[in-house]
């Protein structure tokens, strides 16, 4: 794949309504205006996106033979475990953050971002690049493991320190009951639920809901990215205090993890489009499930670090540069 078409992809992405809406959301924050959706609308649209992705993925899944999925699924789970470990290690090199803060960040980068994934699908569809229907399954597989690995890494780090310092806070145990509630949250269930509905109802059943779950998808995402821009924009003032090491991490690590994902997808026999989506999944950092879980399990981790990195830097980076980049890499490899 040559440079011209890569730049073409990048430009097409930059001038798409969802990405432009995201930019408007950020600019609004800089102008001290508030473009946020009401909370209920935010929740309802999230549910719509998850169900729509699941449904469509499920319909496509019917056509995939189980044999095709096994390899990508295993690779995805493996990446879900390795990526937070790699993040934890790289953060030690690049920053002076404590083990707790590094574990918190590892949990975020080990998990995935629904909206980044959604934007990637919309981008691929607009560019006319095919991808496997079962990518929604990979999204589901990748959401939780990375969070748990990140929490365990943080906890191990705390205990090592605690053995010497005997601080009482580090004796506290993780409240798994609360965590369970956070981790079995809506998102996984809606995705799995949508997949099941799609698999069972098939193309005929889906057709009647397509005007809602299909045709509206890009438009709804555009409205939603306005809100995401506002959220990311509110994190920008903290970027200055995050330090150059964390800043570098938040840009470099997605590219590393994204390449790993693309490579894994290609090795697993996926099409260029599918491998690019796996790359996006690996590159993206969670900004919903992980923050809630980390807040409960690692209250001493500083949200100023993990929210700023995942939502303030990595999310815009992936949306604007990352997605076309991983697609270009996938097309070059395949």
């Amino acid at each position: 794949m040559d440079l011209t078409s890569t730049l073409g992809l990048a430009l097409e992405n930059l001038t798409s309504p969802p990405v432009l809406a995201f930019a408007i959301g950020i600019i609004a924050v800089l102008l001290k205006a508030d473009l946020r959706l009401p909370d209920a609308a935010y929740q309802a649209i999230s549910m719509y996106l998850l169900l729509a992705i699941g449904l469509k993925g499920g319909v496509a899944l019917r056509e995939s033979s189980p044999a095709d999925i096994v390899a990508p699924a295993l690779i995805a789970v493996l990446l879900g475990v390795l990526i937070p470990i790699a993040a934890f290690g790289l953060l030690r090199l690049l920053t002076r953050l404590s083990a707790v803060d590094r574990g918190a960040l590892a949990a975020h980068y080990g998990s995935t971002s629904l909206v980044t994934f959604t934007a990637a699908l919309v981008f691929l569809e607009a560019a006319g690049i095919a991808f496997e229907g079962y990518v929604a399954t990979l999204l589901t597989l990748l959401e939780i493991p990375g969070i748990i690995v990140g929490l365990l890494l943080a906890r191990r780090g705390q205990q090592v320190r605690a053995r010497s310092s005997q601080s009482p806070a580090s004796q506290r145990r993780i409240d798994w009951e609360s965590l369970r509630e956070v981790l079995t949250a809506k998102s996984v269930l809606l995705l799995v639920g949508g997949l099941l509905i799609g698999v069972i109802t098939g193309p005929a059943g889906y057709a009647r809901t397509e005007p809602f779950f299909g045709a509206l998808f890009t438009g709804v995402l555009t409205l939603f990215l306005l809100e995401m821009g506002a959220l990311a924009g509110r994190r920008l003032p903290d970027v200055r205090t995050a330090g150059p090491g964390l800043l570098a991490f938040a840009v470099v690590f997605p590219v590393i993890a994204g390449c790993a994902g693309v490579l894994g997808g290609a090795l697993g026999g996926m099409s260029p489009g599918g491998a690019a989506v796996l790359g996006v999944l690996c590159a993206s950092a969670s900004y919903i499930a992980a923050p809630a879980a980390v807040r409960l399990a690692l209250p001493d981790a500083n949200p100023g670090y993990y929210l700023t990195a995942s939502l303030g830097i990595t999310f815009p980076f992936n949306l604007i540069i990352g997605i076309p980049l991983y697609v270009a890499i996938a097309q070059a490899i395949a």
Partner: protein, 103 residues
């Protein structure tokens, strides 16, 4: 004193991060609270370090309890919540008619 009658119960009001709701109500039950009322809230405080606004802002919880239960709730808050989370909490003396419901 101007209230309808002498105070005979304690109202504990707790404002904290929404993500803590289920953990907090479990802890209140353990302390002996038998009921509570929650409203969604937003706020600003001297610390202001908190989880994602994505999960919604604060909750404001009120629970009507005996003096002893109030003391044990404030103890749990001081030990488990004040050090790590965004919390504001206060107690006040109030009057109820069916006092047996709250003890």
């Amino acid at each position: 004193m101007h209230a309808s009658a002498e105070p005979n119960a304690t109202l504990v009001t707790i404002v904290t991060e929404a993500v803590l709701e289920s953990r907090l109500t479990r802890d209140l039950t353990a302390c002996g609270a038998r009921g509570w009322t929650i409203t969604d809230a937003r706020g600003h405080g001297p610390r202001n370090r908190r989880a994602s606004e994505l999960e919604g802002g604060n909750i404001r919880l009120e629970t009507l309890v005996t003096d002893a239960v109030a003391t044990s709730i404030m103890d749990v808050l001081s030990r488990e919540y004040f050090p790590s989370y965004a919390v504001a909490a206060w107690t006040s003396a109030v009057t109820v008619t069916r006092v047996e419901r709250y003890s």
